[in-house]
């Protein structure tokens, strides 16, 4: 049994435009399926606006999905009431991108860390403090800093507090939504290493959402590439980075600078901008920018299919079993 299994998940937002309210639908997440095992990290990459953050929030039921099913530890959590969901939340937590916005400026660190425990009914103050002290020890915040306010900490420290808050309830799964993209590069690796260490110690699973391909490669076991609300390719991290199948993945990877310029292959420059998710292109959503697009791409929505062992891609031009010759490694 997988820890989390998502099937055909859709998150469509309705936005009203104009006085007579012509409704427009934004398909932020449009039929996403994947599984994640205990202790595994799934990276989700894509440009901003591709729906990766909406996907994270939908899995957590911070926004109710339009359709689709989410199984967590074998249980369908899609239709739980808020109260029923509360128990699930102990097992499933989120770390946000902005360490400035994600901590209540008027609460001390102690309150921020204690609140989840109070919410989940740990009545003994003593016990709560034990838990909190155990956690801050792991993340490198001192006990005497507990009564400080968030603004008294650096960005990296705040993000570690955000992680600590997610850990207070001993979850199985943490959804990390761009957890390091607001941090300086030097601080990024500290936080990433901390997350790595915590994963090993606590056997956590991560869904790691990011637009940064190098960061995702560093931390993930498997990687899914999203484009306009759909997963266009998903595979083990090494397979995906060395042998990308989907033209979009190839384009993304070709834009990542490599340490050795000689290794860099020709950059694939995508034409045009990311289309609006309000009016996604017909057929394959990527055909408007795809260098390999043919008339069929416009007509047919490609399904995500297993092209080689555990390597899935949604492109009609990728033949099963086909090995791509170009090496695109970054590390």
């Amino acid at each position: 049994m997988s820890l989390l299994e998502v099937k055909e998940l859709k998150q469509h937002f309705t936005i009203k435009k104009g006085f007579l309210g012509e409704k427009k639908i934004v398909k932020a997440v449009d039929g996403v399926s994947f599984k994640i095992e205990q202790g595994e990290t799934l990276g989700i990459v894509g440009e901003s606006g591709c729906g990766k953050s909406s996907l994270g929030r939908t899995i957590l039921q911070l926004i109710k999905p339009t359709s689709g099913v989410i199984h967590f530890q074998g249980r369908d959590i899609t239709h739980l009431s808020r109260k029923e969901m509360k128990d699930v939340r102990k097992e499933m937590q989120i770390v946000f991108q902005d360490p400035y916005a994600s901590l209540n400026p008027r609460s001390t660190v102690r309150t921020i860390l204690e609140d989840p425990l109070i919410i989940h009914g740990i009545k003994s103050r003593h016990k709560r403090m034990d838990i909190i002290e155990g956690i801050i020890d792991k993340i490198g915040i001192r006990k005497d800093q507990l009564d400080r306010y968030p603004h008294e900490f650096s960005g990296g420290q705040r993000q570690r507090i955000g992680i600590a808050r997610a850990l207070t309830l001993s979850p199985k799964l943490i959804i990390a939504d761009e957890p390091v993209s607001a941090l300086d590069v030097s601080v990024q690796s500290q936080v990433l290493n901390l997350m790595d260490a915590l994963q090993k110690e606590l056997n956590l699973s991560y869904i790691f959402i990011s637009h940064d391909l190098s960061v995702v490669q560093h931390i993930s076991d498997r990687v899914a590439v999203m484009y306009l609300g759909k997963i266009v390719e998903i595979a083990d991290v090494d397979e995906l980075y060395q042998n990308p199948l989907h033209p979009y993945t190839k384009a993304l990877l070709s834009a990542v600078p490599l340490p050795d310029p000689a290794q860099m292959k020709e950059r694939i420059i995508l034409q045009g901008d990311l289309p609006s998710p309000v009016n996604p292109p017909s057929g394959c959503p990527f055909h408007t920018r795809c260098p390999q697009a043919t008339p069929e791409c416009k007509a047919e929505i490609p399904e995500l299919r297993e092209k080689s062992m555990d390597h899935w891609a949604a492109c009609i031009h990728v033949q099963p079993g086909q090995k791509q010759s170009i090496r695109t490694s970054i590390s």
């Binding site: 929030r57 957590l60 911070l62 808020r82 969901m85 509360k86 939340r89 102990k90 937590q93 989120i94 946000f96 991108q97 902005d98 916005a101 994600s102 901590l103 209540n104 400026p105 008027r106 609460s107 609140d115 989840p116 919410i119 989940h120 306010y149 955000g162 808050r165 309830l169």
Partner: protein
Amino acid sequence: MVRRVFLSPLTMLGLFIVVMIVILAIFAPWIAPNDPLQVNLGQKLLPPSSEHLFGTDEVGRDILSRIIFGTRISLKIGFLVVIIAFPIGTILGAIAGYAGGAVDQVIMRITDIFLSFPGIILSMSIAAALGPSIENVLLALAVTWWPWYTRIVRSSVLSIKNSEFVESARALGASPIRILIKEIIPNTIGPASIQASLDLGFVILSAAGLSFIGLGAQPPSPEWGAMLSSSREILRDAWWSATFPGIAILLTVLGFNLLGDGLRDLLDPKNR
């Protein structure tokens, strides 16, 4: 957390006035030279002198003493109106902003209705309906004032309700009420309470106006608006009876306004 607080001279002046008025109100019986209600027909309409600094009125009451005791009435109205209106407005605004949808629509439409009357007209009709008295003026002003807080709080709730720290509380399983009380309200109370301190002056001014047209405090109460109202009949003979109560109102309102402005500037330096 401790920030060095720099107050402009005008804010200091406001603070000074407000502190003085509060002191006058608390210690009125010891500060005032005479009983504010003591009629002394032998001493009526006396001009200001060393014995009666602000003169006497048409029945010989000492105007200075009446003004000093008047601070109690004005402060009481000002504070009580804000104390009643502020929580009502804040809570409704927080609910409207946080719940959104139909709840928001209903609350905000009701707010709009109250705000579509010029304040004094609405409070005048309510005070009239309830009958003239200080308590009813208080109630009437509270009914007129809460929608302002609702508006302010709603808009600041809207701006933080989708913030990540609120989302994270939801992700932790906090109930909506808990989120409202622990996450949202503490972060919206600031701008609203500044507005409230600014409002104190205007509440006092409005109350005096209502008393002036006969709806609030009734004679012989030493309420400033009521004093002004009765001074009109003796205007020709006693300029002092109209002058000093008006200056008292002006200074009190000015004091609260200066202080409120200063507080707002402290929070938002852009406003200067």
